[in-house]
Each structure stands twice: as C-alpha cells, then as structure tokens.
Symmetry: C2
Subunit: 207 residues, 2 copies
DNA sequence: AATTTAAATGACTAATAGTCATTTTATATA
DNA sequence: TATATAAAATGACTATTAGTCATTTAAATT
C-alpha cells in the first residue's frame, strides 16, 4: 500500500515547486517585493493552494531563507580539513562566507532579514535560530583552534561564535549596500574585508 | 512683516507634533507596525494632512531615524576629550554606543532598518548616509589615535570607520535579539560585549 | 466686505494578504 | 463499473492600509 507514501512524495514535490517559483518571484531583479498572486501565477496554482502548503507569506519566505542556510552550511563545512589548524580553518571560513554572499546575495539578504526580525508567525517559534546549522560549523572550528592553541581561550567558544558571527554579518550587510558608502568614504571593499580579517585574526590570537 | 516667519515656525511646529505622535505610535510596546490612520488620530489631524508634511510613510519613519542619529551623535561627541588618547576615546565611544542602544532600542532598530534597506523613496537620495554625522565622530577619534600612535595605521581611517561601525552594528543587532540566542548558546551578553571590545582593541593596536 | 491664498479634510481608490464555500480530482467501497 | 468518501484545488470574496484629490474651512490681503 504505497499510495500514502506516493501522496506524501507528491506533496513534498509540490511544496518544492512553490518554493522554486517563490524564489524566482521574490529574487527577481527589480527591487519589488513580489506578491502571493505573482507566485501563484508562476507556479500555475491558485493562490488558495499556496496557503495549503505555507501558513502565510512570511513562512514561505522563511522557508527560502532556511534553504539558503543549508547552502551556506555546505560551504562552511568544506573548511573542516584535519591538516589545517583552527586558526587557518577560521580564515578559510571567512573566505567561504564572502564567496557565499557574492554568489547568493539575495539569499543572504533574506537570512539577515530573519536574523533581524524573526519569522513573526505564531507557528515558527520565535526562538528558532535560523543560522544554527552554519554556526555549529563555526563553533567546531573555534573549539579546534582553542585546543591546538591557535585561538585565544580566555573567551568561551559560545561567546566567540556570537561575536564573530555578529561582526561578520554586520560587515556583510555593509558590503551589500556598499553603494551607499562609496560616495562618502574613500574605500575599496576588498580592502575593507581584508582589513576586517587582519583586525580579527590579530584580535583572537592567544596570549 | 513677520507673518511669513510665523507661518514657517508654525509649520515646523506641526511637523514636530506629527513626528512626536508618529514616534509614540510606531514605538508602542506591542510589536505592531502602526498605521498612518493611527498617527493621524494621535496627533488629531486628518490623514491627508500628514501627507502635506511627509511624502509617504517611509519618509516619516526616516525622519524619526534621523532624529535618533542626532541623539547618537550627541552621545558620541562626549568622548572627544583632549586628555584621552585616541585608543581611550574609542573605548569610550563603545561604551556610549552600548548605553545608547540600551536607552533608545527602538530608535536604534529603526536606524538599522534604514541602514539595511535605504529609504526607498525617490526624493530622499539613495546615497544619503543616515549615520554620517555619528560616523564622523568615530572618524575623528580614529585619526587622533593614528596620530598619537595608539591605533594601527596600516589601514586608512575610512576603512577602519566602516569596519568598526559594521562590526559594532552587527553585534548590537544580535544584542537586541538576544532572546533568540540564549536558548542555544550559554552566553552572558555583558560578557559578549566585553569580549568584542577585547578582540577589537587588541586587533586595532599598532605593530 | 469681498477676494485670494493656504491649510486641512475625509471619502475614495488601489494594492495585496489571507479566507472559505464550492468544485474538481483521486481513492475506496459496493 | 457505479457510487460514496476523502483530499486537493479553486477563485471570488473580505479586510487592512497606504496614498489621493475634489471640496471645505480658515487666514491673509485688497
């Protein structure tokens, strides 16, 4: 009796179709927000059907953001090479992050949006930490570095996770809106990122 | 013939009344957004009148954010004491920032919102840098520190302004939503801020 | 007092999120 | 196969709210 299973598969497939259409709509070039009607048209379903798969627009956007975190986590995980010190892995992680933001800027924007505002629907608990999977990679790297003595250990790994992630997220937000700064400051953003690295790598050295 | 002047004064006064009402509405305890109708009711004017003073809702919110930047700039300016080194002033600036975010969290949130999205109305140029006045204090502090040799000078002051501001803004955003983290990480946010300081102060030291 | 100008009004439109009674399609049963 | 039941999908509808504009009210000028 595989009918139930097939139905479940079909349901998941449809859900993915909606997600794909929503991504196209919400990430369209023009800065416009995109409407649920747009998504419905794109995926060739009625609007009502969307609400059978996602409680509301925010949940739909949140699901896209979760997908983005999945991609980011995969990027991050590539740095976990045993031959590299914790400090080196951390540096690699920074590179991966920059690459990710450059490759998926819209996903990153969306992740940031939910980092700032939270999903705000009753169902997705407010304490859901969207970035958790990616941050757990960062945490592993830090622990490794503290163990091999390449990262200062007068701060707990949890503290450094939050500090480094917050700093980096803030920096990446600035990078995304760099147009706003270049009229006011004489900076090259590659150099800004490098400068950030230098400050941080020096700042988290032991001793 | 002071009629024109009086009229102008009255106009500014009315503008301020609207701003004050809008602040109350948009900063009300419940997370709700607040509507233009709410603001109109609060200030005892018709909705149409609001639009004689502000082009749209976004402009009204932006004006509140500008007011917040004014407050922040005043906080920042208190650190410019000649007897303190640049490095010391920078540390003081951090303290002032934390104090500001604790005292005016809603203003800070709003400032962050426009840092991220921009005002998005045709009239307020996209390149308006909301934080400019406050950042110019930070810039002065950094220049001072580079001159007295207490801050590294292998990065330009403009680069460090953007780096430090971005990092700090990211950290403060995390602080604002700390509830989201405490379920997942064992951290005390006072210690996180202190940790951030320690990393940064070490990271920007010369040599 | 009559006329012109400025300020304010609020009923209206437009856009869009979300709902729900009804219809269509698929599955189970006789 | 014909009928009944359940699941999925529909789209017209409601609700909310930003923004508009023809009209009214108030103030200043002649």
């Amino acid at each position: 009796m595989g009918i139930t299973e097939r139905k479940e598969r079909e349901k998941q497939k449809r859900r993915k179709e909606i997600l794909a259409a929503a991504e196209k709509i919400f990430f369209a070039k023009n800065g416009d927000t995109g409407t649920m009607d747009d998504v419905a048209e794109k995926v060739e379903l009625s609007k009502g059907t969307l609400y059978l798969y996602f409680r509301n627009k925010t949940d739909l956007l949140y699901a896209i953001a979760e997908k983005g975190v999945g991609l980011l986590t995969k990027c991050f995980s590539t740095v976990l090479k045993p031959e590299r010190t914790g400090r080196e892995q951390l540096s690699d992680l920074g590179d991966e992050f920059v690459r990710f933001v450059e490759e998926y800027p819209r996903h990153f924007e969306l992740i940031m949006r939910f980092e700032v505002t939270g999903p705000r629907s009753k169902e997705v608990r407010e304490t859901n930490l969207l970035m958790k999977p990616a941050l757990s990679v960062l945490r592993d790297v830090l622990i490794r570095g503290q163990q091999d003595g390449t990262i200062r250990n007068d701060l707990s790994e949890d503290e450094i996770v939050i500090i480094l992630w917050s700093q980096m997220a803030g920096l990446m937000q600035s990078i995304l809106r760099k147009e706003r700064y270049i009229d006011h400051y004489r900076v090259n953003f590659k150099r800004v990122i490098k400068g950030h690295y230098r400050i941080i790598m020096k700042g988290i050295a032991p001793g």
